[in-house]
């Protein structure tokens, strides 16, 4: 009776042409992390956004998704890597990007449009389809430090209908291209493909005016909840309840003051 080790060896030798080391456990190394540039968030994420994985940031409007995304891209472009922003609703503000510190020359901005396809323009499908194709092309080309797929203005019922196979494909491509793939959406859609799932929520409401002068929108407080992090160093940490981080973003004019 052959031992289990011998059987394993036999199977692996037979499959060697198709799958190298089919039954041997692959030792996964901890991915490189990109800091988000927000100290509170980095503390919750054990250092930042993982490279070669999918990070999903979900939340309603005005919960800080775009600010977080731009801040991360700013750090990555400043490290010298090229990034891409796939803008499903064509809403990126170049001024905000420049203010966040993004090196605009290193940022490839892809603006999808409904006019390219002469179908019903109100539906988000042409735009989403274009954005998914564009993301696929970028992942295949490789070399990008991070790619942001901004679906913040697409309703959850539409993002939920994207086939799971797409996300699996993206996960593998991102791993091979060593690219941090960041999704911004209203509700989580990548399911188990996302190595890091974050939820954004607004916190307490702070009044526009802080000094008793003319009312002025100066800053906004946000909360970030870590829902899942597959790359945590310890297994025991995975059972911990999600961590929260409260962070603040200022408007451009309050910086001047």
């Amino acid at each position: 009776m052959p031992s289990s080790a011998a059987i394993r060896l036999q199977i692996e030798t037979t499959l060697a042409n198709r799958v190298p080391a089919a039954l041997t456990l692959k030792i996964k190394q901890a991915p490189e992390l990109f800091a988000t540039g927000i100290a509170e968030v980095d503390a919750v994420l054990d250092g930042g956004i993982p490279r070669g994985c999918i990070t999903e940031v979900a939340g309603a409007a005005s919960t800080g998704k775009t600010s977080l995304g731009l801040s991360s891209i700013a750090t990555i472009t400043q490290s010298g890597a090229a990034c891409a922003w796939v803008d499903v609703s064509d809403t990126l503000s170049p001024e905000s990007a420049a203010a966040a510190g993004v090196e605009l020359k290193r940022l490839l901005w892809l603006r999808t449009s409904a006019e390219r396809k002469q179908t019903i323009t109100n539906k988000p499908w042409p735009r989403l389809e274009q954005a998914l194709k564009a993301t696929d092309l970028l992942l295949q080309a490789g070399g990008f430090g991070a790619i942001v797929l901004d679906m913040s203005d697409v309703l959850p019922q539409h993002t939920m209908r994207i086939p799971l196979a797409t996300w699996y494909r993206f996960r593998l491509a991102a791993e091979q291209a060593r690219t941090a793939l960041i999704f911004l959406s209203q509700a989580p859609c990548a399911h188990s493909c996302a190595a890091l799932a974050l939820r954004c929520e607004p916190v307490e409401v702070r009044s526009f005016s802080s000094n008793g002068e003319t009312a002025l929108f100066e800053h906004q407080q946000y909360t970030l909840i870590r829902e899942r992090n597959r790359n945590e160093s310890s297994v025991f940490l995975q059972r911990k309840p999600p961590l929260r981080a409260a962070w603040q973003a200022e408007t451009l004019w309050s910086r001047v003051r």
């Binding site: 020359k105 080309a141 070399g143």
Partner: protein
């Protein structure tokens, strides 16, 4: 062995060539801008009457028999072409002598089998030139400069035997040498009139008196100054083109790609022979109905890779297809030195230029030309004014992040969405947007901005920052009121 063809008084000969009626009559050729025109050349009959180079138009016209007219570059160019064609019959290696217009030097080494010895060749060359309508001196010598000096200084055919160049040059005036005016004056003051007299001086004494140029002049006068010939060659860049006539008009792009592939291959081979790469490809499609469709594909870096170039051509033609059937196609290339970059082990990753170029072409086909690229902020008072530029990331390098606070990002609505607004005391209190009613919980504003007030495109608006709430959600937006159209719209959402 070199033969030199020199047409004396080239400008006058070039001007008289297309006007045979002028050959027997005295004429002067003028140059310069009116009214400061001056005589640049005159034919023999005019010189006999007293017309000299350097005279003004008025002075030249004071001779009633002399016809004065301005030089035309076209005449000189056509004369150059005729002479060039004549010399091309005698040698494949030709050099144009810049200092003397119309003068060509030919390398006649090994031509004796076709044209006989040097004297016979020189005579036939002169005969051909005269048949083409030009008078010319022809000189043959072992030394290049000796042949030039002989052609400039001796009329007719002159042949200097090998090793006897100094003797052949002995009686020529020193003005056949390339002298500066002050050197000519110095030699004149010394009483040196001929090349023989100059060659008789001691080289070291000459160098001691007029410097290192003395060495060159001494060697030239002896017919011993070496020369490296730079023959005229057809321009490499002009030769980088391929043409193809189609038997039947082609409407589909796919069969065209087979032809383009062959043409690109041929161009790449030529380019690679010179260790160069293709910097740009220009496709010219001649279409049915006498139309022309031209596209230029310019990769970010010069490429030697055929599949990439072909893919870029294909994607560009698919994005901008021709409007009619194709009858005839041309492919022109521009060469450049291939790019070589030293990559670093510890530098951040960057997209590979060749693959990035193809990806960008794919994305442009998918999204449109103006929707793919980097963004550049415009120096414009209008908020969020920007222009799209081609994506070309600079080489990877680290940069220190300035320690500034995180700004609130604005998500811009493009185009701005019109909303219904209920006002109380001229302040918005309720907003109806996308079929939903929002209560304005907090408001800051109005911020009045305007621009372009000096032109038709003037704009102005009042902007408000508002915190909108429904029963379940809350959002902070920037809304604006346009007083000209009296319309409210959402400019963007803070996120």
């Amino acid at each position: 062995m070199y033969a030199v063809l020199h047409p004396p008084n080239f400008y006058a000969q070039a001007a008289a060539h297309p006007r045979p009626e002028l050959r027997k009559r005295p004429f002067a050729l003028l140059d310069g801008e009116p009214p400061a025109e001056f005589v640049i050349a005159a034919n023999k009959a005019a010189r006999a009457l007293g017309v000299e180079a350097g005279m003004t138009r008025l002075q030249a016209e004071s001779f009633p028999e002399v016809t004065a007219f301005s030089r035309t570059p076209a005449d000189e160019a056509s004369a150059h072409t005729i002479l060039h064609n004549v010399v091309c019959l005698f040698s494949p290696r030709i050099e144009h002598i810049e200092i003397s217009p119309g003068t060509y030097a030919l390398d006649i080494e090994g031509m004796n089998r076709l044209y006989g010895d040097a004297t016979q060749l020189a005579a036939r060359l002169r005969q051909h030139t005269m048949a083409a309508g030009f008078l010319a001196n022809v000189a043959v010598a072992e030394n290049f400069h000796a042949a030039v000096c002989l052609a400039l200084g001796k009329a007719g055919v002159s042949v200097a035997a090998s090793g006897h160049e100094a003797e052949a040059l002995r009686d020529l005036p020193v003005c056949v040498l390339p002298l500066e005016p002050e050197q000519e004056e110095t030699l004149h003051s010394w009483g040196v009139r001929t090349c023989g007299e100059l060659a008789a001086l001691l080289e070291s004494d000459l160098i001691a008196r007029i410097g290192q140029v003395g060495k060159k002049l001494h060697a030239l006068a002896r017919g011993a100054w070496p020369h490296l010939m730079f023959p005229i060659e057809p321009s490499f860049e002009d030769g980088l083109s391929e043409r193809m006539e189609l038997d039947h008009p082609v409407e589909v792009l796919e069969p065209l790609l087979f032809l383009l592939s062959r043409m690109t291959d041929a161009l790449l081979e030529r380019v690679k022979e010179k260790a160069l790469a293709i910097a740009s490809l220009r496709v010219v499609l001649h279409l049915d109905g006498n139309k022309r469709h031209e596209r230029i594909v310019r990769p970010a870096l010069p490429l030697q890779d055929k599949p990439t170039l072909l893919k870029l051509l294909q994607l560009d033609l698919e994005t901008h297809p021709p409007s009619a059937a194709i009858l005839h196609l041309e492919l022109h290339a521009q060469s450049a030195a291939p790019c070589r970059a030293q990559h670093g082990l510890f530098l951040p990753q960057a997209p590979e230029p060749g693959r990035l170029e193809v990806t960008l072409a794919h994305l442009k086909k998918l999204l449109g030309d103006e929707r793919v690229g980097s963004v550049e902020l415009k120096d414009d008072p209008r908020p969020n004014a920007f222009r799209m530029v081609p994506f070309a990331p600079p080489p990877p390098r680290k940069q220190e992040r300035p320690s500034l606070s995180v700004p609130t990002a604005l998500r811009v609505s493009r185009p701005p969405q019109a909303v219904g607004v209920a006002l109380t005391d001229n302040k918005p209190t309720r907003i109806f947007w996308d079929g939903q009613g929002y209560a304005v919980r907090e408001i800051a504003g109005p911020w009045r901005i305007s621009g372009q007030w000096w032109s038709e495109a003037n704009w102005c608006r009042e902007e408000w920052d508002v915190r909108l709430t429904t029963e379940t959600a809350e959002r902070i937006c920037r809304i604006a009121f346009d007083p000209r159209s009296r319309c409210w719209y959402v400019q963007g959402t803070y996120d």
